[in-house]
Symmetry: C2
């Protein structure tokens, strides 16, 4: 055993930084929650701040004005990075697991697309982002014919899983073992990605 | 060839009856549209009537008060009758086709469940109806282990198809041939109904 003391883990954030990240995450969660229940036009920065348990000026400090906050919430870029982070042969399993783990943690990488009808013109922004940042990006990973349609099917299957878990709140899916759910649902998703 | 004149087709409604049915359908469509964009508490009978192009008293005549109109809109009973109307071996194909045909006609038998978060307590009614009238009813049709979970998976896959078509508005799925869509998506649904 070495007696040399190790330096702090280089990726461990300092407490202040970690607090800031947790606060930003709480603000984004609050904004997403409100966007699932109210039209974009009816949501105020103050309401977001109240729900996140912070002051409105802090929301402005971190995210700028309402437009820039909601531009962030309406982007799927970061979510797609995590969702698509697996080799193609294992992508079905990875995506199903990622959706279920996110759902159990109270978020979902994709599900906010279902509230597009609430937001009128901003709904079109949400749809356009969803297409370019999620579906088109998955399409680019696929080989073989009809890659675009297959990507839409695979993403649709994931969206349905999220709806059943997080919105319809299916009693079976919410009590089953995670590995079991992945084993059972992933083959249907993978069949669109790499048809045999 | 017989010269005997045939009576009117016994199931062909008289014009007045047909108009009444068309008006009722327009009112239900208007109520569904508003329930996808506004909280239940914020919707008035007058708004439903305006959107349907009829008078508020006519809505009352056909559906009673707001509560009874929305009880009807929040029921999946009639939709499930049509959705589940096929033998089990062909049920995956039938349900996928039924969802796609309904979507193309501007409705969807199941999709209004995704707006449950908008409606607070009424959202719970919507979820309870969805469970007993759709998922439990499908479960009762299935044999073998884990029928409840398999029914939730199958319904989830259908919901995802509806989201991708009607809300995310996937460009590929909206331009593909119906039979082709059924051929490609139904096997994944059927795999939950009758696993091999």
């Amino acid at each position: 055993m070495s007696a040399v003391s190790t330096p702090p883990h280089p990726t461990a954030p300092a407490p202040a930084r970690r607090d800031a990240e947790a606060t930003k995450a709480a603000i984004l969660r609050a904004a997403r929650h409100l966007l699932a229940r109210h039209a974009h036009a009816d949501i105020t920065l103050k309401a977001v701040a109240e729900r996140a348990g912070v002051s409105a000026p802090l929301v402005v400090k971190y995210f700028g004005n309402k437009d820039s906050l909601f531009a962030r919430v309406m982007s799927f870029e970061t979510d797609a990075d995590l969702l698509l982070d697996a080799p193609l042969d294992d992508l079905g399993r990875h995506m199903v697991r990622h959706v279920l783990v996110s759902q159990a943690a109270g978020s979902d990488p994709l599900l906010r697309i279902v509230f597009a009808p609430l937001h009128r013109e901003e709904g079109d922004t949400l749809r356009a982002n969803f297409r370019t940042q999620v579906t088109d990006r998955l399409t680019a990973r696929l080989t073989g014919p009809d890659a675009g349609l297959r990507a839409e099917f695979a993403v649709g299957a994931l969206l349905g899983l999220g709806v059943m878990y997080g919105i319809a709140r299916g009693t079976e899916i919410r009590t089953a073992d995670l590995d079991d759910l992945v084993d059972r649902y992933a083959p249907a998703v993978q069949s669109h990605l790499t048809p045999s």
